[in-house]
Symmetry: C2
Subunit: 254 residues, 2 copies
């Protein structure tokens, strides 16, 4: 058996999220179908660094699977892409150690969230941004975000419907960049709770809009209570950007 890790990109718009489910098109199902075709109908299971929700995108999702085939790493992307729909692309493959696990061995994850600042939107970016037509104070959001850096119990920023018990995570970076008509939030952390990025962004947007004070964020964090944080920002702006492991699996372009 050989364990193969894949760098996967997808546009989440036309998927019911990453994880396989009885109804709806999912990224996991499409990839397992493609693998099955390559393995003459045998069913294979793919494991990912974590699921993504409906309409959420990935630039750098990492998954792994075991195979009896002896295809060289550099030939896997072409073989799989030929069987995959155009909204999922395998960017690179790497033969990894037999005990490598895309989820359990991830040491750092980066998410980005794109906010489009155009009153009327943009037809070409409507599926890959969250449109905000109200005024935002970037300075206030940056100031508020500082309170999130560090190791905390992020219960206030975790969707209520989760089975995870330990809600302590470390955030290394929460930055906000301004690029023409877009705001790009970059969040880097040891790991993320369910909906954590979207609830943080949603709360920061409420602060930026002046609906909440900058100082509130520290209180929200301390309260460990989802109900007092802001709204969950829409999935369309969210990208799983990069997953890091102890040693690099892919080339420099990852």
């Amino acid at each position: 058996m050989t364990r193969v890790a894949l760098w996967v990109a997808y546009e989440g718009t036309n998927f019911s999220g990453y994880q396989t489910q009885p109804n709806g098109r999912t990224i996991q199902d499409e990839m397992e179908k493609a693998l099955s075709r390559i393995h003459k109908g045998a069913k294979l299971r793919i494991h990912s660094s974590g699921r993504t929700d409906t309409s959420v995108h990935a630039r750098g999702q990492v998954v792994h699977f075991d195979t009896t085939l002896t295809i060289p790493a550099e030939r896997w992307p072409k073989a799989l892409n030929a069987c995959l729909p155009a909204d999922i692309r395998i960017m690179e493959a790497s033969i990894v150690a037999d005990d490598f696990h895309s989820r359990y061995h991830a040491v750092k994850k980066e998410y980005r969230y794109r906010v489009l600042l155009r009153p009327d939107g943009d037809v070409f970016r409507r599926n890959v941004t969250h449109l905000v037509s109200y005024e935002l104070s970037i300075a206030k959001m940056k100031k508020a975000a500082e309170a999130l850096i560090g190791t905390y119990d992020f219960s206030s920023f975790c969707a209520a419907n989760t089975s995870v018990v330990d809600k302590v995570r470390t955030l290394y970076e929460v930055s906000i960049d301004y690029d023409r008509d877009e705001l790009i939030f970059t969040l880097v952390g040891s790991g993320f709770l369910y909906n954590m990025v979207r609830i943080i962004v949603g709360t920061l947007l409420e602060i930026g809009a002046g609906k909440r004070d900058v100082e509130e964020l520290a209180n929200i964090l301390a309260a460990k209570d989802r109900t007092i944080a802001g709204k969950t920002a829409p999935g369309s702006g969210l990208f799983l950007w990069k997953v890091s492991y102890e040693s690099e699996i892919f080339s420099d372009s990852y």
Copy 2:
């Protein structure tokens, strides 16, 4: 009556082209529905600078209509966008002379065609580019394109199923720019025949791929015969970029 001209952008992916038709979602239908809502159910007719086909996009389509309402120009985009789907956006409106016609008064049109040069494609650009995975000589395509500049009978580059009799058009510019992993073809002309840009690009790609000689293009043009030109390139890469009139209708950002 007031005549209003609109600058319209749309992503053509989920439309059966611009022009109204019995089956399928069209840009004209969506816009006429939106206008009807604003005019309390009255049916209005929209005229465009020209139709676009299925999956073809517009950055700068121009349309016009007549209204009895006295809404100021700057308020039309917001009013219409509130009634339009997110893949059509009104970018700007302008009150024009009663005899202005978006099609008959157009003096110049610019189209762009995006070719994506990545063997495995890109999930985020799959609907707005044409994916080419073979090697292309840009120098050969540029050289060949020179033969197209000027006033000619472009019958060889016009889809056979057209009722247009006069096929003489003037091309002012056919340029090819290289931007990281994309080729961008820019075609500026007095007007364009049905499928003209896509047949020109398709033929240039065959020359770039070495399937045809650079010198062939002049012969194809001279033959006035669609059957000897190249394949029609897919609609997904094509953008109606800009339509020009004797005097400017919109702001500098158009």
